[in-house]
Symmetry: D3
Subunit: 248 residues, 6 copies
Amino acid sequence: MRILLVNPNISDSVSDLIRDEARRSASPGTEIEVKTAPFGVAYIETRFEALVGAYAAAQVAAENVQRFDAVVVAAFGDPGLTGLRELLPVPVTGMTEAALASAHLLGHRISIIAISQRIQAWYREVVDSYGFGSRLASIRALDRPISAIGGVQQEHAQALKALAERAVDEDGAEVIILAGAPLAGLARSLQGQLPVPVVDGVSSAVRHAETLVSLKPGRAQRGSFARPPAKPHRGLPDAIARLLDSPR
Amino acid sequence: MRILLVNPNISDSVSDLIRDEARRSASPGTEIEVKTAPFGVAYIETRFEALVGAYAAAQVAAENVQRFDAVVVAAFGDPGLTGLRELLPVPVTGMTEAALASAHLLGHRISIIAISQRIQAWYREVVDSYGFGSRLASIRALDRPISAIGGVQQEHAQALKALAERAVDEDGAEVIILAGAPLAGLARSLQGQLPVPVVDGVSSAVRHAETLVSLKPGRAQRGSFARPPAKPHRGLPDAIARLLDSPR
Amino acid sequence: MRILLVNPNISDSVSDLIRDEARRSASPGTEIEVKTAPFGVAYIETRFEALVGAYAAAQVAAENVQRFDAVVVAAFGDPGLTGLRELLPVPVTGMTEAALASAHLLGHRISIIAISQRIQAWYREVVDSYGFGSRLASIRALDRPISAIGGVQQEHAQALKALAERAVDEDGAEVIILAGAPLAGLARSLQGQLPVPVVDGVSSAVRHAETLVSLKPGRAQRGSFARPPAKPHRGLPDAIARLLDSPR
Amino acid sequence: MRILLVNPNISDSVSDLIRDEARRSASPGTEIEVKTAPFGVAYIETRFEALVGAYAAAQVAAENVQRFDAVVVAAFGDPGLTGLRELLPVPVTGMTEAALASAHLLGHRISIIAISQRIQAWYREVVDSYGFGSRLASIRALDRPISAIGGVQQEHAQALKALAERAVDEDGAEVIILAGAPLAGLARSLQGQLPVPVVDGVSSAVRHAETLVSLKPGRAQRGSFARPPAKPHRGLPDAIARLLDSPR
Amino acid sequence: MRILLVNPNISDSVSDLIRDEARRSASPGTEIEVKTAPFGVAYIETRFEALVGAYAAAQVAAENVQRFDAVVVAAFGDPGLTGLRELLPVPVTGMTEAALASAHLLGHRISIIAISQRIQAWYREVVDSYGFGSRLASIRALDRPISAIGGVQQEHAQALKALAERAVDEDGAEVIILAGAPLAGLARSLQGQLPVPVVDGVSSAVRHAETLVSLKPGRAQRGSFARPPAKPHRGLPDAIARLLDSPR
Amino acid sequence: MRILLVNPNISDSVSDLIRDEARRSASPGTEIEVKTAPFGVAYIETRFEALVGAYAAAQVAAENVQRFDAVVVAAFGDPGLTGLRELLPVPVTGMTEAALASAHLLGHRISIIAISQRIQAWYREVVDSYGFGSRLASIRALDRPISAIGGVQQEHAQALKALAERAVDEDGAEVIILAGAPLAGLARSLQGQLPVPVVDGVSSAVRHAETLVSLKPGRAQRGSFARPPAKPHRGLPDAIARLLDSPR
């Protein structure tokens, strides 16, 4: 089985973290590839940056999907995910969606630990859009500047752990999600150090993608996740145009 | 006052409808300009098409915003709206958001009349994302093929009116929104023919944009609608890059 | 265009503040008149006082509506608004409803700054009744005695501004509403001094009323905002009785 | 124990129905008195009529409360109830609120059977305002003209029963509320004829009022149901003024 | 009238408290009996303990129901309540459900005061399951060890009172529920000492059970609270088997 | 890896279906064992039957858990699941919870196809308890008698498929869950025959259990899913008592 993870941002250092955790968590026999967006920003904290990342992820996914059994949108917040689910002929998972699916199986009230204050509003809207708002105990975030996005988890490991503990004690969190591709792998490093189960987006997205490939639930032929209807278009990247025009 | 309306789709015929209704509804002294997306699809019905339209709208808006006092995203579903609100230095309104604001002042339960079955799921998600889910009486939609997007309102006027009447009688609608830029102006043509107030997205978006320009509520300097934080980026259109990098 | 603002309370000093801000914010050509309730309390903080204000507003509005194109219920909390929307032959807006409509176009999460602790529960119920509960970041209120209702905004300007800043920093507010007719005009005085957009109820209600008059969405002939059905009544003020009995 | 039921409408025939059912359902030793509003409409179907009924009920209750241990607002929809709870020194219940309290103890999903189509929107808003929206399976209503309000339950008994049966079969109702003072006593007449438990507003309101008097939960001295704060007022009926001004 | 209260726990000291408060609050002529679970834990704080208590309560209720007109599940959290409502031929009430019904008639926002930190999550889920989540101002709980479950209210009376006061001042509580059978009777002892109405679960459950017996709303013959359909079973306690198999 | 599936019902024929589908869907190297409840009913349709099944599942799980890496509660509706998550030292998944987790990754609006009318209310409450109510497009169910519970899927395959198609066309379902252990494996048989993705509870529960075992998120030491606090108990089955008393 071959899984493509698309980093919707331009940070190669984060793509490395994603690749490492994806390979550690994949089942035997699963091949992992990570692609970095050719345009965009260093990391997404806002709605506008998510809009850019969504379009970049769509291009990368469309160009490469033929060689893969599943695609993962590898940024927390899942930019472009629901659109790609319509477009691509294989299962697509996202880090937020997958982390929520895992967390949902471990406890009822979920807290998200994030890397910046600014990122919280966007995360909250994404969680709400999945209907998980009532499960959210809190979002807690670092309030200090990030010197290098690929090094956040080393630099701030203790602060992140402290945020998780406060989420349990003060917000009633029953599960913790360590959010954001820059934190990929941190849940593994903290194993046994937090008082409630801890979920990582990359490993969840990879494992759930494997499960969907394996269970073959079938593709939407009708309803709102079927392919977009054929219609005139102009100026789209070739790979996207081909997917839109391919015979149904 | 100068207002830019951005059609996130490639259909010039729809841009014409938008321009006509915008000019009819603007206050004396307001100048209206409409720009059509240089790339994308003929009209948006799905999440993926909205993702494309959002990026196209962002480019067009960024390239032209300097000459305007306000920007309108002129597609129902508001692709890119909340992202543009972060990025642009002027007020931004969208057709869905504005139509809901008007409808909210006319009745409690709101029905949306749409041009295709497929479009309904996306509309519902957008309405929910604004927190207006509990106000939605129903979405009712045409179930016949659209021969030319610019001619939908002429071709199907009676069917659209019948859908509105059923929304009142069967769904308890207290206000009707005629949704989609291709229906721009239809509310005006149907004046007096429907049993409850009828709202049009383009005229609402223009008038509310005027109100925001006039009342000068101020721009977000903090919080999640402030400009995206400065950070590395790559490969973005010049106009967008300039807005991201401009001094704060 | 002529707009009547009804102050459902007996405070002439507040009516003066309402009149001043309404005139400052109205479009050229709009005439503004403000009427003060002949009976009731100095300002509304509770459900019971709102019940009294609603009946007083209904009387004033019914007696004067013939000379106006629109009516504004000029107390935050909108006492009587939805009832008057059924009864009156012209558009009716309220300060809360209109401020929410404006705020909705400026950000997602909204905080309300209020003049007394007691008033908060009632405001929350009104916001919830409009389906805006999920958009409410917080209500924050002064916790000191009010010496003269017409002078609240001068006396407590700094405290009110500080409450707004805390709403942004601690509650995630993306827009601020300065609530209550006694604060009419304060948003204008604070222009540029708050870190997020600020909305005023009176100016919003006036501008949205103008928009409704201008767009002519039509009146409800069916549904729950049509006129109350003809039926026996007794002892009602003449102006109300005439409206109930007028030919349909 | 003495309980006052206030009919916020002018229909003496409905007051008779209320009195009969209240006496049948009261505990031994409870004295029942019913007062009819001196002004208002024959029966309430709309928000405006509720606004009038609320003010009328407040006057009647204020004038008579000294002789009673509890007050019941005896119209479904509970006009004025939450306001009166602030004002009056004794427990107050309303027909809707009390019927929901009873129904809540008998099943999860509740359907309301109502006497007119028009009345449904108002009922729905009241149920929502109590936070019971998620418990509402449906509201079903007669769709035929009412010839005399005091005779609705005789005239339409079979149609009302049929509506209840459809609510069980089609809407998943687990409990039925027969709504509206004009239906007072119908639940009793239909005993054993409906497939799920049936609740009546008048008997529920009386019994719950008795329970509150008996359990002595105490009166609100703080919070939003404490008495309205002392402040200037003008032109209010004497009985209301006295209650507002009485020493605290 | 005879009412059976089932303590789903093994603590005889708590059964004594339940019996005393039930007898104090019952109407003249009502006979009260309390049965203690033959197996289970000392008091329920968790979902697992509730699962055990539910089965124990079912056994006790099934064995004794023939001699009673109503049954009360006498633990806050109502273990087994909705299941017993299907099974038993008489009305069944629970302490949480009944306390919420009473509180609902006294104010809008309700706070629950509980005996342990751990118990809060379970209480919250039960309140949510009744659709009362939007009415919940807060749950506040003791954070100290319980030395003897039957003596909690004496030992911690001042701490419990302080929690209630904070719920009013900081959480906007308009009514307080003193939760848990071990607190049965405390509301009565604190009469007049708290600033808002206070509700007790045992007395509410008894009074509401009396009301249901008296009003005879009828038993569910259809819908989801009708008796479980006849089907094969094995190994069930005799009393339960008899109720499942009895002729319909 | 060894996974125990507990059938909370007494039907060996259903246990066979569960075992077959579990083995087909498990990863290489996963060993599957299924245990049938020693007491209870043939299949669960009601809250009372779920209460019995929960206690039976708890006993079976407690007696066997030492030999397994994860436990699956193998009845749709997940009787006892959240309680067992507190008690057991290994991950626990349930069919409903797991099917929702899978469906959540495939579409937004989910419909459940069920085997009996009666079962729907209980399913709805369980889905709501997980916070998935807003994701539920509909529950549709067979309305014919079940002759043998182990043969439902053969006997009614076409009717079940037709229900799924109606859920897509009329309710907007984007994913279908075939609910109930008696339907285990049906999704696999219908592969390619339904217009949207189809999810099966048993295979989802097994795969998600494997993922949790593999990712090692850690066990709750604090919060509401930690083990029940030590306290007196009496009369519990030995295996349960041992787990409650084991050193922490």
